[in-house]
């Protein structure tokens, strides 16, 4: 089934699962001239706006670094090719996505040919690459080494990237803790805005869990949900059910006879869903955004852009978002054209969605107030297993936004020579030279204006890397 067909079906499904006709995405069909005016005004208004957002895109499954940021200078291209001849991208296909910046020793990189959008952002100084970043407790030293959780295990490395602890270990993530830091610094109670400070789009993970912001509010990308039998303008509104639910919620809060924790939590979730979804849904419906977005990840980032567009209605000054772009665990079908998702398709979706989202921040006049960045539980092997690669460690990541500094590359340029075993732990699994804590510190300093001491309180391993020692991509 082609994408267009699937999209049609999804649209139809969405039409059915929404209630009533209150969802008005048609509002985007504003005349062009008006749009341009609106963009100009918005830009003028928000020049000095006290608003910042971090948008985390998680490449779930572990993205293949070597075919994403491809060594382009001839000697290193040849090493890359010889390490994975089965899946290496031919050098003559890289002309359109080669990056301008030349590194010492004439090292050069190109992006995968399906990533022209991010390549142009990098070449125009609107984006940066952080080279070889990954989980570390302290700078790598084989003589004094502590494993940062279970390496190569999806669930544990996902959790380390998001919380600096393995699966189930930590009770909050650094996205949520950064949001907390804002409220702490401003000495304000997040109150009702707490629900809209951390928003997870089609995803759930510990990244956005904080102490003050508690839990991220989840949002689907494909619809606006309200609890239909409890929503007056829904065709399924049932007054008797509404009355019963209201009674149940009251009873649940006041009834000391029944205290089952799971029952209480379900109740709490339902109530929060009922109240906050309506607020968020209405704000989104009334916001204006005309930048076109592609499907899949594009839909998710469109939802982020819509929520950012509604920031004043929602009363938020700092937001952290998380969206998941899944399917990167390509042990096989890496380049199989018949696969639902292969690496090229996944990177293509990432590229077009990130570019559209950047354009949307320009439209909203807040391109320097929003920083988008990627994470992924691990990199992969440089060698292949035929038509795929296996779990690795360090990885390259992208940071996008007008606030990004213009050096293009940050971090340490890794080798691709398998014969040299100082940079990898077998089969080209890179040993990270920058830690997740350092990566997060740069983002946190920009987002919250935090000092080293404040950052160290949020990022438990940061102190092991020396004061103020983090990449200067922002």
């Amino acid at each position: 089934m082609d994408n267009a067909k699937q999209e049609l079906i999804d649209q139809e499904r969405r039409r059915f699962i929404r209630h009533g006709a209150q969802v008005g995405f048609a509002a985007t069909a504003m005349p062009m001239a008006l749009n341009l005016m609106a963009i100009g005004e918005a830009a003028a208004q928000t020049q000095s706006e006290d608003y910042k957002a971090l948008v985390c895109i998680s490449l779930d499954g572990g993205n293949d670094y070597a075919n994403t940021l491809i060594t382009y200078d001839e000697p290193n291209y040849n090493l890359y090719y010889n390490a994975r001849p089965q899946i290496a991208i031919p050098r003559d296909q890289l002309g359109a996505t080669v990056l301008n910046k030349v590194l010492p020793n004439n090292r050069r990189y190109a992006l995968h040919p399906s990533m022209p959008g991010i390549a142009s952002l990098l070449n125009s100084g609107k984006a940066a690459v952080l080279l070889n970043v990954g989980p570390l407790i302290r700078p790598y030293d084989p003589m004094n080494y502590t494993e940062p959780g279970r390496l190569f295990s999806h669930a544990d490395q996902v959790n380390f990237w998001q919380s600096m602890g393995v699966d189930g270990e930590k009770s909050s993530g650094w996205g949520g803790r950064l949001a907390d830091s804002y409220f702490k610094k401003m000495n304000v109670n997040p109150g009702n805005t707490s629900d809209f400070t951390c928003v997870a789009i089609d995803s759930h993970g510990i990244f956005l869990v904080g102490d003050q912001v508690k839990r991220p509010f989840p949002q689907p990308s494909d619809a606006i949900y309200t609890v239909n039998p409890l929503t007056v303008d829904s065709e399924f509104y049932r007054p008797e059910v509404m009355a019963a639910f209201t009674k149940i919620w009251e009873l649940n809060l006041n009834d000391s006879a029944r205290q089952h924790l799971f029952e209480k939590e379900y109740n709490r979730t339902m109530k929060r869903a009922h109240i906050s979804s309506k607020t968020l849904g209405d704000a989104i419906t009334n916001s204006t955004l005309s930048t076109p977005f592609p499907d899949d990840l594009g839909h998710k980032l469109k939802r982020v852009a819509q929520i950012i567009a509604a920031r004043q209605t929602l009363g938020v000054k700092r937001q952290v978002f998380m969206v998941v772009h899944g399917g990167f665990d390509l042990h096989s079908d890496f380049s199989n054209p018949f696969a639902v998702l292969n690496h090229e398709k996944l990177l293509g979706k990432l590229d077009s969605a990130v570019k559209a989202f950047y354009d949307a921040t320009v439209e909203l006049g807040i391109a320097s107030n929003v920083v988008t960045f990627t994470i992924s539980e691990f990199g992969r092997t440089l060698t292949s297993n035929g038509d795929g690669t296996d779990h690795g460690w360090g990885n390259h990541h992208f940071i996008i936004g007008d606030a990004v500094n213009k050096k293009t590359y940050y971090g340490k340029v890794p080798s691709v020579d398998l014969a040299d075993d100082t940079w990898h732990i077998g089969q080209g699994r890179m040993i990270p030279t920058t830690s997740v804590d350092q990566y997060a510190a740069t983002l946190g300093k920009w987002f919250g204006g935090l000092t080293d001491i404040q950052l160290q309180a949020i990022l438990p391993n940061l102190k092991n890397f020396g004061t103020g020692n983090y990449p200067q991509f922002l």
Partner: protein, 641 residues
């Protein structure tokens, strides 16, 4: 009666009974934990039941005293195995743990027998025939001849066939299907990851392996899954080849996940499921290293599809999916393989594979690792370590020296007094959040749902959870998930605190995993999850389950919509009960919630209903719908206790 299987259960539980008595006596003196108190009370109750049974005087227990079983008391037959449900609520509660529904007929039938006899009847293929396989259902529907459905509409035919198989009341092997569903959350296969050209039959075959093997043994099931095309395709053992000197290495995917998720897990475990702590380092001990994965991966090389796949219209043979993978010695790495401290040599590919699987199967972790998760799927999110230990020892030996006997495992889980003891009102944590897909099947079967057109083109994805559609091989939720920043996560599990003799280092990874309560199903029941569920059920109850039929053009090009005349619940049993609001509410409370909705809360439903004896049929139907919707959204129903 199938004496063989009765025998199995009786003897296999003897260790568990010994253990439980010992632990219970010790605990009841040491702690005021409500769960151990309940256990103690249960023990006392069951002891008197046994005395009555031996005396042969009590009507309610004479069933259990047949066949000269007097000597069994001495052989420590598990006390709970004698139990006959004493009330409708107890019967309903057991049925909801063991299968999907607890209809009034099923409750009545169970009350005429014992839990053990009921289980034996489920295990006996002569008294309870197994329904058709999903592959056969789809072949019967001519999916294999329909190139459009087979290749272009993803897993749609599988979803249709599976819901039909789970829901249609003519299929009576509910327990088998329920256990297969639980197994599908341990041996996770994700349909979306296998390539659209083979999705429906690949998914169907995986489910068929689980349901046909649900009452066999763990090692047989593991071997079938390992060699199956669906798992080969999903975790890429299929077509994995030995290193060829050009940089290509064996695929490590299956080698990793079979250890991490399908057999032994990450850390060495005690038999009660808690991590074994190395006293010298105060740390849990990893079960394997990366080199074990790299080496085991070599055993899994050289397997290819049994038949070549041609994506031509002429070739509609699905045996390339349904047959086990074939051996291709040219791709196999025949070198000696050392993993988990043992070395496999030899030149017989099958023998090498069997040896590797045996090493995994015989690892002491498998029992506690597998059994704890199955208890979580069926009974409670936070089983006590003693409960896990009792079931795991049955896994280790069913009493006849057989390891991994799944019938014995299911019986041990369901007959354990921790499962059978009725929850007390002040127990804050016993039980589990019912899974959306399980609620859906319960509703559909209970309310006489059918496809009037007979085509079963239902699409229930919007309920928020569909079989074989987890996010990844890590299932819909992690076994230790605890919703962060909630009272669940901040509560220490009273039945599961650590042995103070083994102090825990809080710096250690996983240190606090088992100390606090977990509630895995909440990982898919966030604000969006709960809205999806209530909205889907509202439409299913008041209108119909959506139909997705891209081949008929009934709904235009998208193929998605509602048939006025298809995919409805008929509420046959409920209409008969709808004489007044109280009767209806009590009926629904029993069959859906095993009577666990408290009277105060049930009164809210009753007050909301305007039904009376004189109501018209249409009015009654509307009231039934409102009542079902309310009951199915009550926290007291949603949390199965």
């Amino acid at each position: 009666m199938d004496t063989q299987s009765l025998e199995d259960i009786r003897t296999s539980n003897s260790d568990a009974a010994n253990l439980s008595v010992g632990v219970d006596v010790k605990e009841s003196g040491e702690t005021t934990d409500s769960r151990s108190l309940r256990s103690a009370a249960m023990l006392a109750a069951s002891a008197s039941a046994i005395l009555a049974a031996c005396g042969g005087g009590d009507d309610s227990t004479t069933d259990t005293a047949d066949g000269g079983e007097d000597g069994l008391l001495a052989s420590n037959r598990p006390l709970s195995a004698y139990f006959t449900p004493r009330t409708d609520q107890e019967a309903a509660r057991f049925l909801q743990q063991a299968q999907f529904t607890s209809t009034q007929e099923e409750i009545a039938a169970l009350r005429k027998t014992t839990f053990v006899k009921w289980l034996n009847a489920q295990f006996n293929e002569n008294t309870l025939p197994i329904g058709p396989t999903l592959v056969d259902i789809m072949i019967g529907w001519d999916i294999h001849r329909d190139i459009t459905l087979q290749y272009q509409y993803y897993d749609l035919p599988f979803m249709n066939a599976h819901w039909y198989r789970l829901i249609d009341n003519r299929f009576k092997d509910q327990m088998r299907q329920r256990m297969a569903l639980a197994l599908s959350e341990f041996f996770v296969f994700k349909v979306d990851d296998v390539g659209y050209y083979s999705m429906p039959f690949t998914a169907a075959k995986h489910m068929d392996i689980l349901s046909s093997g649900a009452f066999s043994t763990f090692d047989k099931l593991l071997s079938k899954i390992t060699l199956s095309y669906p798992m080969g395709k999903f975790l890429s053992m299929l077509d994995s080849r030995k290193a060829d000197g050009t940089g290509q290495n064996p695929d490590e995917n299956y080698a990793r996940e079979i250890m991490q998720l399908f057999t032994i897990g990450l850390y060495k475990l005690n038999i009660n499921g808690t991590p074994y702590i190395d006293t010298s380092s105060n740390n849990p001990i990893p079960t394997y290293k990366q080199e074990d994965i790299t080496n085991l991966a070599r055993i899994f090389t050289g397997y290819i599809a049994a038949k070549e796949f041609h994506q031509s219209i002429a070739d509609r043979d699905v045996t390339f999916i349904t047959a086990p993978m074939a051996k291709d010695p040219s791709g196999h790495d025949f070198g000696p393989v050392t993993f988990l401290g043992q070395t496999i040599t030899g030149s017989d590919m099958s023998l090498r594979l069997n040896q590797a699987l045996a090493i995994l199967f015989n690892h002491p972790n498998v029992g506690p690792f597998f059994c704890r998760q199955m208890i979580q799927r069926l009974v409670t999110s936070n089983p006590s370590p003693e409960y896990v230990a009792r079931v795991a020892s049955v896994f280790n030996d069913n009493g006849y020296g057989v390891r991994g006997d799944l019938k014995a495992v299911w019986s041990a889980i369901l007959l354990d007094y921790e499962a059978r003891a009725m929850p007390t009102a002040d127990d804050k944590s016993f039980g589990k959040l019912r899974e959306p897909m399980v609620r859906f099947v319960q509703w559909a079967r209970t309310c006489d749902f059918t496809s009037k057109l007979g085509t079963w083109k239902l699409d229930a994805r919007e309920i928020g959870q569909s079989p074989l559609k987890a996010q990844s091989v890590f299932n819909f939720f992690r076994p230790e998930y605890s919703p962060p920043k909630t009272s669940i996560a901040s509560t220490v599990d009273p039945a599961n605190t650590r042995d103070p003799a083994k102090p825990y280092n809080p710096q250690t990874p996983n240190a606090d995993l088992r100390k606090r309560l977990c509630a895995p199903e909440f990982q898919i029941s966030n604000e969006i999850g709960v809205m999806k569920y209530v909205n889907f059920m509202t439409q299913a109850i008041y209108r119909a389950v959506p139909c997705y039929d891209p081949t008929s053009h009934f709904f235009g090009e998208s193929g998605y919509g509602y048939h006025d005349d298809d995919l409805h619940a008929r509420y046959t049993k409920q209409i008969a009960k709808a004489t007044d609001a109280t009767t209806l509410a009590n009926h629904l409370n029993l069959v859906f919630a095993a009577g666990q909705i408290s009277p105060t809360r049930l009164q809210i439903v009753i007050d909301a209903l305007k039904i009376s004896n004189t109501s018209s049929a249409a009015e009654k139907l509307d009231q039934i719908r409102a009542a079902v919707l309310m009951v199915m959204n009550y926290p007291e129903y949603l949390v199965q206790k």
